[in-house]
Amino acid sequence: MKDIITLKDIAVSFDGETILDGLDLSIHDGEFVTLLGPSGCGKTTTLRIIGGFITPDRGDVFFGDQRVNKVPPHKRRVNTIFQRYALFPHLNVYENVAFGMRVQKKSKAEIAETVEKMLALVNLKGFEKRAVSTLSGGQQQRVAIARALANNPRVLLLDEPLAALDLKLRKDMQVELKNIQKSLGITFVYVTHDQEEALSMSDTVVVMDGGRIQQIGTPTDIYNEPQNAFVADFIGESNILDGIMREDYLVEFFGKTFRCVDCGFGKDEPVDVVVRPEDIDIVEPEKGDLIGRVTNITFKGVHYEIIVDVKGFKWMIQTTDFHAVDSVIGIMIDPQEIQVMKKSEYSGMYGDYSSFSEEFDELADPEAENGAAQ
């Protein structure tokens, strides 16, 4: 596939604070790419560089083969969906959608036809004459999408477009956005801090932290084969353990050697080991590779989430069976469920689940909740 946007060695800093630090990224034509990371990781800055609102201190931005560092936003064939929609309050729905085409001096008939088509695409037929102030958040979001797409962009940039919507609406809009992207076949670059959103919508996920890309891959790659402790911790729940790679396909932790599917590490190299909570089997204590005591159990609907103490390390395990607190269980892990990662700057930053409590779980994503409340 052809690269439509290439970022090479991009660095940006504001007031002496480094925002992006040597970022390299290629985006293929027609792809749904998500920039995923915690707030302050540089994902929005990356998007604004592509949109032309920020000129990088160092590095090059290419659209195709053309270097566009100095090209102003109005000359770029990309359009942006802003976080708070940025609809023009003095114009009605029709005029908002027609805005870009009016600037380009398109004919009246063409504008009318395109506006009708776009409003149909986002299910807002009949809203033409409405003032944007009378629309709900979800409807405003749709107008913003129609307005951007009416310009027939090759790339659509979306900056946390669903952050201000409530959960139910957000799920519906995820599906709708994905459908729009598929049917139009244009490239979407999507910024979010919501890992679930990233995994369910994207062709490619770019995980960012501290102004650098931590991993690029398909959603399944990112989830199943995280490259470092940050990615493993940020995407989903994970038990991250210290291990030693004894030889290819053999990793040791908790004094026990486990078969695994990873190779290419040095002999006796210290590594980080990731095991997802849903990939652990619970068996009779005498049959388990490891033995632990249940310290906490929480009912989650589809499954129980239990915290198991194994030699002082608290594991999180998801299971459909009930295990009473203080019962002793055995743990078994299949070789393909063990992901071995090289040590990184993030090693040791994410401990076990010893600080786990139900209240903590509820506070886990304050940013998303703030966004929904606003």
């Binding site: 109005h74 802003f82 380009q104 951007a148 310009n151």
Partner: protein, 268 residues
């Protein structure tokens, strides 16, 4: 307690407005030098007023100066406000202090300062001889801060992404300014312009020091007239000026109320 506060209010307003009401009433009195005696209702002073060459020329100077300085101050104030808004926090508050200073500075000081400046400049540039031009310059200067003051809050309320959205949709920066930013801050620009116009109409102290014999504003002319025995023509003129300013202020207030209402609607 409630009746007491009502009475208090009535007294305050009576003190504030009684003199003006007196002027209005006696502008319709046909008696001449004994204003405290009511004779007949008549428009004779208004008729005389509009035959008085001195007053009519002063009126036209006043209106011309007000119009020119309103236009110039609105343009300057709008661009200044946008520039100040784009500055970082420190610079912005410094600039706003500089902007607010002329509004609290005693007018007479401003007037004397202008006079000195123009006298000095006139030595080299005859254009700065006291007259219409210097009046305009002075009025533009003291009106501009009021325009800035009216527009700043509108800029703060504006979604900062609106401008970027317009650029994103293909507008050049100037076009984005005209098509998106101006409509958003228009209520501020209009009230700013109205403020500038009334301030310019109102002004006496600064005009007194910056106008020459070639061009005098109404207030300066009236001042020179009252040195002679006062004629009720001046009551008629004062009534008209009071009426004009009142209408302008009411218009400005209606504009503001409408703006607040539409903002509330938008917030819902």
């Amino acid at each position: 307690m409630k009746t007491l506060s009502k009475i208090y209010n009535i007294i305050i307003f009576a003190i504030l407005y009684f003199p003006i009401v007196m002027v209005i009433v006696f502008s319709f009195n046909s008696a001449r030098y004994t204003p405290m005696e009511w004779k007949d209702f008549s428009f004779q002073w208004y008729e005389l007023l509009f035959q008085n060459e001195e007053i009519l020329s002063a009126l036209s100077v006043t209106l011309e100066v007000a119009l020119i300085s309103t236009l110039a101050a609105t343009l300057l104030g709008t661009t200044a406000a946008i520039g100040i808004h784009a500055m970082n926090k420190k610079l912005r508050s410094a600039m706003l202090t500089i902007n607010h200073f002329p509004m609290v500075n005693p007018e007479i000081v401003t007037g004397v300062a202008f006079m000195l400046l123009f006298v000095a400049l006139a030595v080299v540039l005859p254009l700065f001889k006291p007259g219409f031009f210097t009046l305009c310059i002075a009025h533009i200067t003291f009106c501009t801060p009021y325009v800035v003051l009216q527009i700043m809050p509108k800029l703060r309320q504006m979604d900062r992404h609106l401008f970027e959205a317009a650029l994103d949709l293909g507008c050049t920066p100037f076009r984005a300014f005209v098509k998106v930013m101006v409509p958003e801050i228009l209520p501020g620009i209009l009230t700013g312009a109205l403020m500038a116009f009334t301030m310019s109409l109102d002004d006496f102290a600064i005009s007194y020091f910056t106008s020459g014999s070639s061009a005098q504003t109404l207030s300066v002319t009236i001042y020179s007239m009252v040195k002679r025995p006062v004629t009720p023509e001046i009551y008629a003129l004062s009534t008209l000026m009071f009426g004009t300013v009142l209408v302008l202020l009411v218009l400005a207030n209606i504009g503001q109320i409408r703006d607040i209402a539409s903002r509330k609607k938008r917030a819902r």
